[in-house]
Symmetry: C2
Subunit: 486 residues, 2 copies
Amino acid sequence: VTPRPAHESIGLAAAAASVTANSSPAVRAQWMRASANRLDDHGEELVALAQLETQLPPARLTSELARTTFQLRFLAGESEGGDPFQATIDHPNADWPTGARPDLRRIGQPVGVVGVFGASNFPFAFSVAGGDTAAALAAGCSVVHKVHSDHERLGLRVAEVMRGALSRAGAPRDLLVPVTGRRAGKDVVDDPRVRAIAFTGSTRIGRALFDRAMRRAEPIPFYGELGSLNPVFVTDGAWNARRDTIIDEYVTSLTAGMGQFCTKPGILILPETDRALLVSALAERTRAIEFHPLLSKSIEANFYDAVYDVASVPAVDTLLSSSGSAGPGLTLLSTSADAILDNPAIAHREMFGPAGLIVVGARAEQYSNLSRAFGGQLTCGIHAEPGENVGDLISTLATQSGRVVWNGWPTGVSVTYAQQHGGPYPASTAPSTTSVGVAAIGRFLRPVTYQDVPDMLLPPGLRDSNPWSIRRRTDGLWGGPDLKRG
Amino acid sequence: VTPRPAHESIGLAAAAASVTANSSPAVRAQWMRASANRLDDHGEELVALAQLETQLPPARLTSELARTTFQLRFLAGESEGGDPFQATIDHPNADWPTGARPDLRRIGQPVGVVGVFGASNFPFAFSVAGGDTAAALAAGCSVVHKVHSDHERLGLRVAEVMRGALSRAGAPRDLLVPVTGRRAGKDVVDDPRVRAIAFTGSTRIGRALFDRAMRRAEPIPFYGELGSLNPVFVTDGAWNARRDTIIDEYVTSLTAGMGQFCTKPGILILPETDRALLVSALAERTRAIEFHPLLSKSIEANFYDAVYDVASVPAVDTLLSSSGSAGPGLTLLSTSADAILDNPAIAHREMFGPAGLIVVGARAEQYSNLSRAFGGQLTCGIHAEPGENVGDLISTLATQSGRVVWNGWPTGVSVTYAQQHGGPYPASTAPSTTSVGVAAIGRFLRPVTYQDVPDMLLPPGLRDSNPWSIRRRTDGLWGGPDLKRG
């Protein structure tokens, strides 16, 4: 499959966007379920292809594909229930305090073509058939997907399978159009027919594309996840009570997926502790890790660069540096709280791969300031014991991140109703939105209010008869689909 | 009152933001109601002051102040009910399809200090105590308000009254801090402590501030309303059935507030009609209009420039040009559909004041293309008769605007549940949000998910006991405050 030039692909997606915009959420949900089923049917083939291009072990890829198809079905169901559209009806009211109120009806409408940039590290779940695609399709949009260059064959094959499934289900296959190459990526960001961008990747590339989208004559929403350090704070109480467990779980979380997760616990903050004992415990635990090659040679090169840069800072020591058989092993660096508070930039360099920075000997009263020094995060974690006075710290962690994790680890982002994946910049360029969970759908809807429009000319979601049977708010009160006008 | 330098004002607002972030929506609602009551108490004084600076007639100012205090109370009530926070609880679930799900609880939290830029044309409703301020306070944020230079005395006095009311109600008075001057405005956009910007004004100034906010090391959301032409399309059927009424209502809407409304019907699209009859009907109707001076000399100068520029285009004719006693009268220009489709830029120049462009002789099949040529709008209007085939046109109008008005006029933006004020750029820099109506509150909230956090350390809105008694979604189901865990 040789993808077409971007402008042609966008044209196809724009035509498909008109079709899906005029379909019901239930029909779109069928299309998405058909896509999920077909991807599952092709599971073995796709996992084998993914393995070739990503070096990831098959078990991980198989579970990632299952997550991906679940996500398509889950978001399909959410859209079918109507929640993302936030349908709201105000009947005319002559006595409204600011003057007679007309009939006003508001509903989220699909924005049109969405440009999605897939991630290097999730060849399924954040790629062609991934979360952004699921959210866009559930909203009633079409997708032009810039396939990540590290797994282009897989991406194009996933697109082919999904386009076939869409077509067989009666949908326009161009609801999902893949493009490849840097030039095509820039064209997608620039094209006036593209109405929103979703991106998961590095701060450097993400910011460049964000700036590009903002420079358009007509800027468009840019939903970018640009990196996160995910600091985990350990209190005196927790460290005294269960340091072995903490070290064990920390190394497991840090090296999951060879540290190539946006939610890797990149910084661990510990109270004063015996350094020799710490190093020996970390080394002991590290021996149990099975190391794999990194996703690509360019990621490996960037990883070594980043580790070198951080390790070269005078205030940073190397605690541990193991080697893998076919690539890097685990590198653990350490520094002090004072060093970071003096120069927060030390901590800001994301080492995408199996490396972590441990802040040793931080005092409890420094924890909130440290959190602020680290900047915006997808997640902040805290390990503490009952009865410890950590209310203020938790409040601070919440101002710095999209998810606060208690006595746990940031890796593993469940796809649920209450999930939030996004936080202050650079964790997200749109921190009031999420890229995981049902709320992700809302990113690709734009509300439109209809004033005094006759019932038959309204979008179905706003008609009196509520043909989509969605939850709506009427004259200020939310009700089920059976709520009658009155 | 001499305002402090911006950095000091922002510091005060940041301290106040911490206090309100830890308050309940019900307490904040009391503060907002106290502010509204106090502003009403000072109504006569404030209206007199506004009259001096804006030239607006007292009746209009009195009703605008009533709208403003209603807005404070209405958004206070919405926040108290909890809807804007979208509290969502997922209980742990070992059988969740993507693997055991932890306890996840998500709630919108106030972003902190919001920088608000007031509008020239609504000295109350879109200014110091206006909609953006009401939404930010309802969200639990504090506001640094850049007072519009055209009504600075009024703005500072409104701030003084409101700050006094806040203080008496037990709130930090620095929930609302005024700043003045261009330099201060830029400082507000640049300051890292400011977490979002709300702006209502011109495309030129709005885009400059938007660009500034996007260039920050850490870009922040910029909720800008930058101008709109609000085209109104008249079908053959409507024109034949009731042209006199349409002309009458059009001139009324066009000249309301001397055409200084963001929702002024700047472009009227008519089918082929007798030009001489049209001009005489418009002239006849215009004679009944009482003209007032424009809001300021600079607005007047800009208005004359804009009218001159549009009128100078060879494809544009002047239909009517009346003069007022102390400023401009009504200017009506005309052009053809073909001229606009050839060169859409003709239509893009907003003439902020009593002027309109009438597209005469458009064919029905050109209407959708014309709508697209006009670009993003706050509103699009259509006048049609039952039985006319206008479904496709309405769909197109919806893709181009935030509000579609049927057989009515865009001026008059009711503050309700279903209102949407915002549309594709330049109508809004954040087209999935609104600056009027209850949904405006959500702009100043950022969701945070708490994973496995003990009940007593959760924000009150997420605790099992639901102490704020807000509507929440639990394990996928929305329920009232009485929904119990289980």
